[in-house]
C-alpha cells in the first residue's frame, strides 16, 4: 500500500493534523477512510480516538449471554429426559441444579460473544498490509493518508508539517 504520514509526539498536534486533513480532504480528493491514525496506546479524550467509540458490543454481549442461557438450559434438560435416571429422590430435571449450569453457560455465552465481536469489529486477524513505523513504539502517534492522489501530495505534506511534524515519510 502507498501512504504518506508523519509522526507526532504530542496528541494535540496529532489532533490538529487530523482536523486539517479532514477539512481539506474533500478538495484534495481524499475520503475520510483514507485518513489513518496509528498509536502504541489508546488515547481517550481526543476526537481522533473518540469518534470510533460508539459500539453495540454491550448489547451483543448481553444477547450472547441470553443465547448461552437458553442453549445451556435446553441442552441439560434434553440430556436429562432422553435417558431419565432417578437419583436421590430428586426430580429428573431439578430447577436448582439446572440453574447452576444455566448460569455458567450464560456467562460463557457472554464472554465468547464479546471476543468474537471484538475480532470481527477490529478486523482481526488481519494479515494484509499494515501502516506502521518503528517510532510508534517510542510513544509517537502516526497520522497519515493511504493511497494519496499524486497531485495532492505537496499540499498534504504541507498540512502535516504545519501541525507539528518535523519529518514526513512515505511508504
Amino acid at each position: 500500500m502507498k501512504a504518506l504520514y508523519a509522526l507526532y509526539s504530542d496528541p494535540d498536534a496529532a489532533q490538529r493534523a487530523v482536523n486539517s486533513l479532514k477539512l481539506s480532504g474533500g478538495s484534495l480528493g481524499i475520503g475520510e477512510r483514507q485518513i489513518v491514525v496509528v498509536s502504541s496506546e489508546p488515547f481517550d479524550g481526543y476526537d481522533f480516538s473518540d469518534e470510533h467509540s460508539q459500539t453495540r458490543i454491550f448489547l451483543i454481549a448481553s444477547l450472547g449471554g441470553i443465547c448461552g442461557a437458553l442453549l445451556g438450559l435446553l441442552f441439560v434438560r434434553f440430556t436429562q429426559f432422553v435417558y431419565p435416571l432417578p437419583t436421590g429422590g430428586m426430580p429428573i430435571a431439578p430447577h436448582w441444579t439446572n440453574g447452576i449450569i444455566t448460569y455458567e453457560t450464560t456467562m460463557l455465552g457472554a464472554i465468547l460473544t464479546t471476543v468474537v465481536t471484538l475480532l470481527v469489529t477490529a478486523q482481526l486477524p488481519h494479515f494484509g498490509p499494515r501502516l506502521s513505523d518503528p517510532e510508534i513504539w517510542q510513544g509517537k502517534i502516526l497520522v497519515g493518508v493511504t493511497d494519496p492522489p499524486e497531485k495532492a501530495r505537496p499540499e498534504l505534506e504541507k498540512q502535516l508539517r504545519l501541525a507539528g511534524a518535523s519529518q514526513v515519510k512515505t511508504v
Binding site: 496509528v38 489508546p42 488515547f43 470510533h52 454481549a61 447452576i100 482481526l124 501502516l131 510513544g139
Partner: protein, 465 residues
C-alpha cells in the same frame, strides 16, 4: 516514573531475548519435579489407587486438597485484573498480566487434578457431555459436573482475559524483536495495527470481560465448595462453605501473586516497575482477607461448638484438639498470627514482609483445604467407621509436581511474553487529558501581586503524576 516509552519497551522485552543461567537452572528444577509427577502418576495408573494412602473411610485427601488449592490460587488474576480495572485503580497496571497468568496456569493445573484422581482415569472423558454410543449423558445433578462447566467457563474466560491485552504487546514485540521470535509474535498479534477503532473495541471488550469474569470466579469456587457442602456428612454440610471458600481463594490467590511478583521483580530486573508501593497495596488487601478468613473460620467453628450436635462435635474436637490439632494450630499461625503483624504494621509491610506473610499464607491455606476434607471423612456418623489417613510417596510426589508445573509454566510464559502489560503501563504514565481540558488558568501577575506570593507558579495546563 521517568521512563520513556522506548525505555519501557526495552526493559520489558529484554527478558524475552536474554536468558541467564539461573533461568535454565530453575527450568531444570521445575522440570524434574514435573517429570517425577509423571512417573508417580504412571505408577498409580499401572498399580491402582492402592498406591495412595486412601482407604475406607478416607476416600479423598491430598488429591482434592490440591484441586481446591489450585482453583483457589487462580482467583488472584480475577481480583487484580477485573475488580481493580473496574475500580480504575491505577496501581494495578504493572500487575495485571502476571496475575492473569497465575490464574490461567493455576486453573489448568486444577483442571487436570480431577482427571488424575479418578479410579479409572482413562475414562475421564465420560464427564464430557457428548453423544456417546452408550446413549447416556453425564449427570448434571452432580456437583462434579457443575465443577466441569464452571471451570470450563472460568478457564475460557480467564485465558481470553489474558490473551486479549497481549495482542497489542505482541504487536510491539513483532516490530521490535528480531529473529525466529518475530514469526511467533506476528501470529500472536493477529495483524494488530493500533488504530483508534481497534483500541476502542479492545477496551470495550476488556471492560465486558472484567464485568463478566467476577461473577464467574465467585461461582467457580462456590461450586467447588459444594463438592463438600452438598453431602449430608458432619463438618461438610454447612451453608457457609460457599462464601468461605471464595474468601479463602482470593486470600491464597493474592498471596501467590505477591510471591510471583517478588520473583519476577528480582529475576527479570523489574525493580522500576514493581515497586514497594505495589506490595504495600497488595499487602493491605492481604491483611483484609486474613481478617475475613479469621471471621469465617471462627463463624464456622463456633456454630458447630455452640450447636453441640454429637457428630459435628466429634469432627470439631478431632480438628482442634485431637489428631489434627498440630495442623490446625499451624494453619492459624500461618494464616493469621504470623501475617498479621507483618501486614498491619506499615514499617513491616515491605516487599520482604509481604513475601514472608505470603509464604506462610500459601502453606496455611493448603493446610486449611486438607483440614476441611480429612477430619470429616475420618470422623463420620458411625464411630465404627472412623479411620485414619497418612499419605504415601505417590501423593506427595504428585503434590510437589503441581508446584513444579506451576513454576515451569510461569517460566516458559515469562520467556515468551512481556510480564508487564506495556501499553497499559504507558497509558497510565501518560498525563490524563481530562485534567488538561478542565485545568484552571489564571494570570500569574495578578496572583503574585495580590498575595505577595513571589515566585508562585501559575497552574500548569497539565498535571504531572
Amino acid at each position: 516514573m521517568a521512563k520513556t516509552a522506548e525505555q519501557i519497551r526495552a526493559d520489558l522485552l529484554r527478558p524475552l531475548v536474554r536468558t541467564s543461567p539461573a533461568y535454565w537452572f530453575a527450568v531444570a528444577v521445575a522440570g524434574s519435579m514435573v517429570l517425577a509427577g509423571v512417573f508417580a502418576f504412571s505408577y498409580q495408573v499401572y498399580h491402582g489407587l492402592g498406591v495412595w494412602g486412601l482407604n475406607w473411610p478416607v476416600f479423598w485427601a491430598f488429591d482434592i486438597t490440591n484441586f481446591v488449592f489450585w482453583i483457589g490460587i487462580s482467583h488472584a488474576g480475577t481480583l487484580i485484573s477485573a475488580i481493580l480495572r473496574l475500580a480504575n485503580a491505577s496501581w494495578r497496571r504493572p500487575v495485571t498480566r502476571c496475575a492473569e497468568a497465575i490464574t490461567v496456569f493455576a486453573l489448568s493445573i486444577g483442571a487436570i487434578i480431577p482427571i488424575c484422581h479418578l479410579g479409572r482415569p482413562w475414562l475421564f472423558f465420560w464427564l464430557v457431555p457428548y453423544p456417546s454410543e452408550r446413549h447416556i449423558w453425564p449427570n448434571f445433578r452432580s456437583p462434579l459436573l457443575w465443577d466441569f462447566v464452571a471451570i470450563l467457563t472460568y478457564l475460557s474466560g480467564s485465558s481470553l482475559f489474558l490473551l486479549l491485552p497481549m495482542i497489542p504487546d505482541a504487536g510491539a514485540a513483532r516490530d521490535l524483536v528480531k529473529g525466529w521470535r518475530k514469526h511467533l509474535y506476528s501470529l500472536m498479534s493477529l495483524g494488530w495495527e493500533g488504530t483508534p477503532k481497534q483500541w476502542h473495541r479492545l477496551e470495550s471488550a476488556m471492560h465486558i470481560m472484567a464485568i463478566a469474569i467476577i461473577p464467574v470466579a465467585v461461582s467457580v469456587h462456590t461450586i467447588v465448595s459444594w463438592d463438600f457442602a452438598m453431602t449430608p456428612v458432619p463438618g461438610w454440610h454447612s451453608t457457609i462453605f460457599g462464601p468461605y471458600f471464595v474468601v479463602g481463594a482470593i486470600f491464597s490467590g493474592v498471596a501467590g501473586l505477591i510471591l510471583a511478583m517478588a520473583l519476577l521483580r528480582k529475576f527479570l530486573h523489574l525493580e522500576d516497575y514493581l515497586e514497594p508501593i505495589h506490595f504495600d497495596h497488595l499487602g493491605k488487601l492481604l491483611l483484609t482477607f486474613s481478617l475475613l478468613w479469621v471471621y469465617f473460620t471462627f463463624a464456622e467453628h463456633i456454630t458447630a461448638w455452640y450447636g453441640n450436635d454429637v457428630a459435628e462435635m466429634n469432627v470439631l474436637w478431632a480438628t482442634i484438639r485431637g489428631p489434627f490439632a498440630p495442623l490446625f494450630w499451624a494453619m492459624v499461625f500461618c494464616n493469621f498470627i504470623i501475617p498479621f503483624p507483618l501486614l498491619a504494621i506499615k514499617r513491616l509491610r515491605t516487599i520482604t514482609g509481604t513475601c514472608i506473610a505470603s509464604c506462610t499464607i500459601v502453606i496455611g491455606m493448603w493446610l486449611e483445604r486438607f483440614l476441611i476434607i480429612v477430619p470429616t471423612l475420618e470422623t463420620k456418623f458411625l464411630p465404627y467407621s472412623w479411620g485414619s489417613y497418612s499419605p504415601t510417596w505417590v501423593e506427595i510426589t504428585l503434590t510437589v509436581a503441581g508446584f513444579g508445573m506451576m513454576a515451569l509454566l510461569y517460566l516458559v510464559f515469562s520467556k515468551l511474553v512481556p510480564m508487564i502489560s506495556m501499553w497499559e503501563l504507558e497509558a497510565g504514565v501518560r498525563k490524563a487529558p481530562i485534567y488538561r481540558r478542565q485545568a484552571v488558568h489564571f494570570e500569574p501577575q495578578a496572583a503574585t501581586a495580590k498575595a505577595g506570593l513571589a515566585g508562585a507558579e501559575p497552574f500548569a495546563t497539565d498535571v504531572s503524576r
